[in-house]
Structures are given as C-alpha cells and as structure tokens.
C-alpha cells in the first residue's frame, strides 16, 4: 500500500443484525433518535450495558434507561481486512470503548486512518444509518468542545 491511508468510514450495506427484543428495544430506539442509552440500576446505581432484565451487580430488577454523554476512551481495537460477510466494506475497525459513565460497549471506529489509532484514544459517539434502516452508534476521535 502506498500513500496515506484513508479515514475509516461507516458502513453502507445491509448489515447482519438481530431483531431487538423487549429488553433491548429502548437502546435501538435511542440510536434512531440520535441518543446513546444505557441502563442504570436504581438500587446500586451501577451502569449496565448490554441491557438485561436484572442488574448484573446487585440483581435488582429496577433499571432505568439513561442518556449517555457518548464520550469515552478506546480500550481495544482491531482493523479487519477480510470482511465477515460481503455486506461489509473493508477496512473496518471493531473496537471496545470505555464510556465515561462506567460501562463498555462494542462499536466500530471511524473518522481516522487505521494507522492513527492509539490506545486510550478519546472518542465520541456518532450515529450513522446503514442499509435496512439500521442506526448504529459509531465512535470517532473526540473533537474538543
């Protein structure tokens, strides 16, 4: 490969995904509305993601959806060059992000070239609609506000 690498971009294809269930639907509704949501346990105050019926920390059943600030740091990543299915354009960068509220989530990094990714990178959420009307919370380098 020669020349500077292009910045990673959101996907456009009709991506594989599962249908939301009653426990997870509020998250996806939030994505469609441009809002990153997570569960907060009303008993022990733990932040929780992915969603579940009970709090994984104290087993409390009283969980409320909260809006995340959508900012965090990069925990780990990979750059994929052989797509899982032809629906994905390569390269793409699956990543685990530590959110400021104290939970982790899986995402893809966008908005920077693969060779510019560094551990602990400050990131922020950015929603993009892919094929089939799926709204996904991508993360890009955080711009100072």
């Amino acid at each position: 490969m020669t020349g500077p690498l292009a910045p990673l971009a959101p996907q456009h294809g009709d991506l594989p995904h599962a249908e939301p269930g009653p426990v997870t639907r509020p998250f996806w509704d939030g994505c469609a509305a441009g809002e990153l949501r997570f569960q907060r346990c009303l008993r022990c105050r733990a932040a929780q993601f992915p969603p579940a019926e009970i709090c994984r920390a104290c087993l409390g059943a009283d969980l409320a959806w909260e809006r995340s600030a959508g900012v965090g740091t990069l925990y780990s990543w990979t750059v994929v060059h052989r797509p899982v299915t032809p629906a994905f354009e390569v390269p793409y960068a699956p990543a685990i992000v530590d959110l400021a509220e104290g939970y982790q989530m899986m995402t893809n990094l966008i908005g920077l070239p693969p060779d510019a990714i560094t551990p602990g990178l400050a990131v922020q959420v950015e929603f993009h609609e892919t094929g089939g009307g799926l709204h996904l919370p991508y993360f890009r380098p955080r711009t100072p506000s």
Partner: protein, 386 residues
C-alpha cells in the same frame, strides 16, 4: 458400587483430514471416526453404553442403535472429564465421544459459519472469531508490549509441527519462519492470515472406558489426572474484554483457564514442571502466549518473551500443539478441532506421535477455548493413574 472405580481413555482416532473431503458428510465422518476409535480400543459398538456427539448426541444414539445409552452434553474437551465422571459414578462403562464436520463451510464469500455471531450488539460491527480474539491480543499488546513478531514466532512453531506431521492438512507446506507469517496478508490486525486457524473437514473420536474393562482393550490406557473448566459467559455475545471478571476474586477473562488449570493441577497432585507436552488450543497465535501465562507456565505479561527463545519448539522445554493444531493439522468445525487436542495428548503419552514424539512424554496438558470466546477448559493426561 465401588467408590474407587477408575476410567481411562482407551481409544482415539482421527479420520483423514482435508481442506475439502470429496463426497464426505459430517455423519459419515463421525461414524468412520467412531469405528476407528473403537478398533483402536479393541472394543465393539455393542460395548458402548454412553455417547457424547454434541450437538446431536441423541441423533447419533438413534442412528447407531446405541440406546439405551448415557448421553453426554458437554462441548469440546469438557466431554472427556464429563465421560470420566459418568463412568466413575457408575452411570456408564464405555463412552464414545465422536465428532465430524464436512460441507459445513460452503459460502466462501463469508467467514466460516461457526465464526459468525448473530447477537444484535455484535453482528452489525462485523465481528467474527478472528476479530474477537484480536481484541484480546491487542489489549495484551497495550498492557505488556507484546509484539507481532512474538505472535509470528508461535504461528511459525505450530505450523512447522504440522509441516512434519504426515496426518496434517498442511503436511510439507513449510517450513515457516516468523517473517513468513508477518508477510502473509492481514486478516484482523494484529492477526495475519498465517496467525489464524484454517478451515477444513474431518472426523475424530475418543473412547473412555471403566478400568475394569481394561483386560478387554487393546490400546494402552491414558488417565485423566485432573481437569478444570472456566466460563465467563456465552461466546460472541458480549465484548471480549480482558478485564471481564465476576463477583469472586479470581482471574479475569484475559486469564481465562487460570482457575481451571489451578484446579486441574491440584487434583492431579503435580506441578507445572511435571508437564512434558502442552497440546494447547491454537485458534490464533496469541492464544498460546495467553494460555502459557494463564496456566502458570510464565508470569503475567511474560508470554511474549517466553515464546521467543525456542522454548515452545518441539525440541524445547515446553513443546506446544505438536500435531500442527488448528493452524496446520486441521480445523474441522466447532467440535472436532477441540477434541483433537486431547487426541494428540493421548498420542504423545502413548508414544505414538511419530516424527513429533516428545521423547519420554508421560504427562500432557490439553486445552480448548480461549479468551475471545469467554471460556477455556483444561485437561491433564497421564500414563499412570494419579
């Protein structure tokens, strides 16, 4: 019922393995493997009163007319301690563990079906097993400075074992130097193509029997000295985080298998230095480094330097994955690739590992699973009962 009843592995068999096996089906390979392992043990189908053939043990019991039979439900190498426990508890006398896979991976535009998650929080991010395990490897590189060259050393070592193994799919496809691994195309950074397991077809089987049946059996028995099983959750549904832990103090997911290994060694009454050969599960090169640390053969973060100096070579102090593993021997679907670690351990302890025999091997540690999949199972085999 005697409380001191003892079980042993008395038969093992691999069918021919290949990238594609003409006219093979999963069921035909399973049957061929089952008959091979029984022949190795000097036993007949009529002797079998227990079966594990996940994910369809019930179908195998029916189709091979083996009922009424005890049915095992564990997946991968955990099937072996499960069978031993069933026999020692008097629930069965002869357990057949069998698996086969062919014509499972047909859509080559996508990765192998058993590598692709369907969970709603994983699938749209384009994850598959190489990417899941890469997220774990990257975390280790961030924490400890582990290098792609150290990963490549692992891949070259295991692929060179396969290069010398006449049974391996990639027999005589080497030899490999670490530079060859690093020169192969990138799949999921830091994993190059040659850091990853292959896909293939094949069958394999293991027969476990009560020691009081030993006068009947032809093969040299191999004993389960200890086993352990660590699980952090379902595979490929949650982020494969190094730091995922539970409410008890203990190893985190990045060290999955550590608690299992401690249990296995304690039960066996032996130490790490007593192990002659390590038949470690090798879905991706980094998993060997991770398991050497988790199992206590080196300290946290020391796995990279540990593998870089020849210790894991077939002639080294800690020979690993001596048949060539899933990178070079075979990787036929979800189940066979795991059981084959135990089969290789049995071959080593019996002295039947051919050109890759570790001289005088008496104790083998075998593993299945890894941090990218949130589970790891450890089995320690010995030539003598503990």
């Amino acid at each position: 019922m005697s409380s001191s009843r003892l079980a042993a592995i008395v038969g093992v068999h691999n069918t021919p393995q290949g990238r594609r096996l003409e006219n093979a089906t999963s069921r035909a390979l399973l049957v061929q493997a089952a008959l091979g392992a029984l022949a190795d043990a000097g036993l007949a189908l009529e002797d079998v009163d227990g079966v594990n053939a996940e994910p369809d043990a019930a179908g195998v019991i029916y189709d091979l007319s083996l009922g009424p039979a005890w049915q095992g439900r564990q997946f991968g190498i955990a099937a072996v301690p499960e069978a031993v426990s069933a026999i020692e508890a008097g629930q069965a006398d002869v357990v057949l563990i069998a698996a086969g896979a062919a014509r499972v991976y047909l859509d080559r535009a996508s990765t192998a079906p058993w590598t692709r998650p369907e969970n709603e929080f994983v699938a749209p991010w384009g994850l598959f097993t190489a990417a899941e395990f890469a997220l774990v490897a990257r975390r280790h590189m961030i924490m400890y400075g582990t290098t792609p060259e150290q990963l490549a050393r692992v891949a070259a070592t295991i692929r060179n074992n396969g290069h010398h193994n006449p049974e391996a799919v990639y027999y005589r496809r080497g030899p490999f130097k670490p530079e060859d691994i690093l020169a192969s195309r990138m799949v999921a950074d830091p994993f190059h193509l040659l850091d990853c397991s292959m896909t293939s077809e094949g069958g394999c089987a293991i027969v476990v029997a009560a020691a009081d049946r030993l006068p009947d059996v032809a093969a040299r028995p191999v004993y389960l000295l200890g086993a352990g099983s660590d699980h952090f959750g379902p595979s490929y549904r949650y982020p494969p985080s190094w730091d995922l832990g539970g409410r008890r103090d203990g190893p985190v997911n990045g060290q999955v298998g550590g608690h299992a290994a401690d249990r296995a060694f304690r039960h066996a009454g032996i130490g790490r230095a007593d192990v002659d050969v390590l038949e470690l599960y090798d879905p991706f090169s980094f998993e060997i480094i991770r398991q050497l640390e988790a199992f206590g053969f080196c300290g946290p973060g020391e796995g990279g330097p540990f593998v870089a100096d020849g210790r894991i070579d077939i002639t080294g102090s800690h020979p690993v994955t001596t048949d060539g593993g899933t990178m070079s021997f075979s990787h036929a679907g979800a189940s066979p690739q795991m059981l084959q670690r135990v089969i290789r351990g049995v071959q080593q302890v019996r002295g039947q590992a051919g050109p890759l025999q570790v001289p005088g091997a008496r104790i083998a540690l075998c593993s299945g699973g890894g941090a990218g999949a949130l589970f790891n199972v450890v089995v320690i085999l010995g030539a003598e009962p503990s």
